[in-house]
């Protein structure tokens, strides 16, 4: 399913924060959204989820299939959120309840949204934990979030987001709080899930390395507008907007030499400059 954002404007307390954003998410594709802090990336994601701050006004359209999420009644929007559209945030604590077991958090969503029975929900929860590669998923099911490392907690948050077979996943800086070694695993997981489940993913990240690793399309925001959008290779290798060039130029890393063990895998050497 595609998610089409057109001419999205959002204002809060009379101040316009998004000035007409256009973005298109497609099934099985990761759309990366970059830009400095305050440029409106999180607001764009929240608008899709219908979670804008109180008093915010949104106009334009956010089309999921034949529905416009912006004009959906609250009750139907609730069903979409956590059902067809799910989310993962920077801090897994945002999506995990500290006092409930991992299993309970996973199954509650399913029983509510998918109306599954207890046993069915449990089996699916254990499957999901295995899918996000939590070791010993049967045991993990009965444990609490604090009994896992940060990387594992983010995997569990992803499992919860996937619980109701969403079509669209909004991931807002999902690896920013993680060590690079752990980030690598989570990025591989996200990419794999997108390919395997045909998810349409909006990946918000300020890290252009992360963007380059997993995104198919890249859009760059500045001051509430998308200033550049296109296939990953074009945007990152031949940026057309001066702002994107500044972003890239502010990066410390020209990639390491291809012959070093840290260099890109040999398959991509031919393509490298």
């Amino acid at each position: 399913m595609t998610l089409d954002i057109t001419a999205l404007r959002v204002s809060i307390g009379g101040r316009e924060i998004l000035h007409g954003v256009d973005l298109r998410l497609e099934a099985g594709r990761v759309h990366g959204l970059a830009g400095e802090s305050g440029s409106g990336k999180t607001m764009t994601g929240l608008a899709v989820l219908g979670l804008l701050p109180h008093g915010a006004r949104a106009s334009g359209a956010i089309r999921l299939g034949d529905r416009d999420l912006l004009s959906l009644p609250a009750k139907e929007l609730n069903r979409v959120r956590g059902g067809e559209v799910a989310m993962v945030f920077q801090d897994p604590a945002t999506s995990l309840h500290p006092m409930l077991t991992v299993g309970r958090q996973l199954t509650e969503h399913m029983r509510h949204h998918l109306r599954l029975g207890r046993a069915e929900a449990r089996a699916r929860a254990v499957d999901l934990l295995a899918k996000v590669r939590i070791p010993a998923p049967e045991e993990a099911y009965g444990r609490y979030p604090h009994q896992f490392s940060g990387g594992m907690r983010q995997r569990i948050a992803i499992a919860i987001a996937l619980a109701c077979s969403p079509k669209v996943l909004i991931a807002d800086e999902p690896t920013t709080a993680l060590d690079v070694t752990v980030q690598a695993g989570v990025l591989r997981l996200l990419r794999g899930l997108c390919d395997e489940l045909g998810l349409a993913v909006l990946l918000v990240t300020h890290d252009l390395g992360v963007m380059s690793a997993v995104a198919d399309e890249v859009s760059v925001m500045k001051d509430g507008q998308v200033v550049e959008s296109g296939p990953r290779g074009n945007v990152l290798r031949t940026p057309s907007h001066p702002y994107t060039r500044t972003l890239l130029a502010s990066l410390p890393t020209p990639p390491p030499e291809p012959d070093s063990p840290a260099g890109p895998s040999s398959g991509s050497d031919a393509e490298a400059r």
Binding site: G38, V180, T181, A184, R232, P256, E257, S260, A262
Partner: protein, 302 residues
């Protein structure tokens, strides 16, 4: 001559009813005047504990820390300022006093250094902020601006050693490399040494003359930045570098390092990296490679 010399340092955390955590377990490292040393490693490996021990904020269990030829002993905050070591912390929201104007906070540092000619506004200018911000309060600034202010305050005391403990981790990408470069420039300009702690290797690469890689309380590899980057030798260093995604537009997924950092209260025997090492050999399980500059049986000094 080293400005800072850390030799076989051991630092333990003790809390009632819990096993002793040997957060720093025999680490050696030096920083020369005007030199920038980057300390990298996964969270929990002991970077902050080491930094706090250097500042006299964590008691030393074993080994030694020498600053300017004098042993570092646990000190009160006041004495620490006088010793010439200043620290910039990760969280720019917690490190500034919310109730005082930033100019007054910078003036504290100037007083420590008995500097009567420099004004807080001068320092704000040096960290790239408008002079008139001196009259404002911390809440009026973004995270990146606050971190610049924290740096201005640290520099005001004219430290001979500046320590940044993840000073850029809470900032956003464009601010990160700018603030890191700023710290480097200002430290080097004033002839101070800089110990720059970060889990972000690509930023450390930008600012450090030498890189020290820490794993589970040990420094496992030290070397010139360009050398370590181009030819990492310790298997852990290699894994760390491979995990950094490159913004080259090629869609290469970074390599994963399986397994978590073990509990420092119960570290593996032999080489501490052996349960995660792709090159593990028999000797690694029995014998601890406690030598440098690369603590690995594949790189034993001749």
């Amino acid at each position: 001559m080293s400005l800072l010399a850390i030799d076989d340092l051991v630092v333990e955390h003790r809390s009632p009813g819990r096993p002793v955590v040997r957060a720093v377990a025999g680490a050696s490292l030096t920083v020369a005047p005007g030199e920038v040393v980057g300390l990298v490693g996964e969270s929990g490996c002991g970077k902050s504990t080491l930094a706090r021990a250097v500042c006299g904020l964590n008691p030393v269990t074993n080994g030694s820390i020498t600053f300017d030829g004098e042993p570092v002993t646990p000190l009160g905050l006041r004495r620490r300022k006088l010793t010439g070591i200043q620290m910039v912390f990760q969280d720019p929201y917690a490190s500034l006093n919310p109730r005082r104007r930033v100019g007054d906070q910078i003036a504290d540092g100037l007083r420590t250094a008995r500097d009567t000619t420099t004004s807080p506004a001068d320092l704000l200018e040096r960290v790239g902020l408008p002079r008139e911000y001196a009259d404002r309060h911390p809440h009026e600034f973004s995270g990146g601006q606050r971190q610049r202010i924290a740096i201005a305050r640290a520099l005001a005391a004219r430290p001979r050693l500046l320590i940044g403990d993840e000073p850029i981790s809470a900032l956003d990408a464009s601010a990160q490399s700018q603030v890191a470069a700023l710290m480097r420039d200002l430290a080097v300009e004033s002839g101070a040494g800089l110990l720059f702690i970060s889990h972000d290797l690509s930023v450390v690469r930008l600012v450090a003359d030498r890189i020290a890689v820490m794993y589970l309380g040990r420094i496992v590899e030290v070397g010139a930045t360009a050398e370590v980057w181009a030819r990492p030798r310790h298997p852990y260093t290699r894994a760390l570098l491979r995990a950094v995604p490159q913004p080259d537009g090629l869609g290469v997924l970074p390599a994963e390092l399986p397994g978590d950092v073990p509990d420092p209260a119960n570290p593996p025997g032999g080489c501490r990296f052996h349960p995660r090492c792709p090159l593990v050999m028999d000797v690694c399980r029995d014998k601890d490679p406690d030598f440098g500059p690369v603590a690995c049986w594949l790189h034993e000094p001749k």
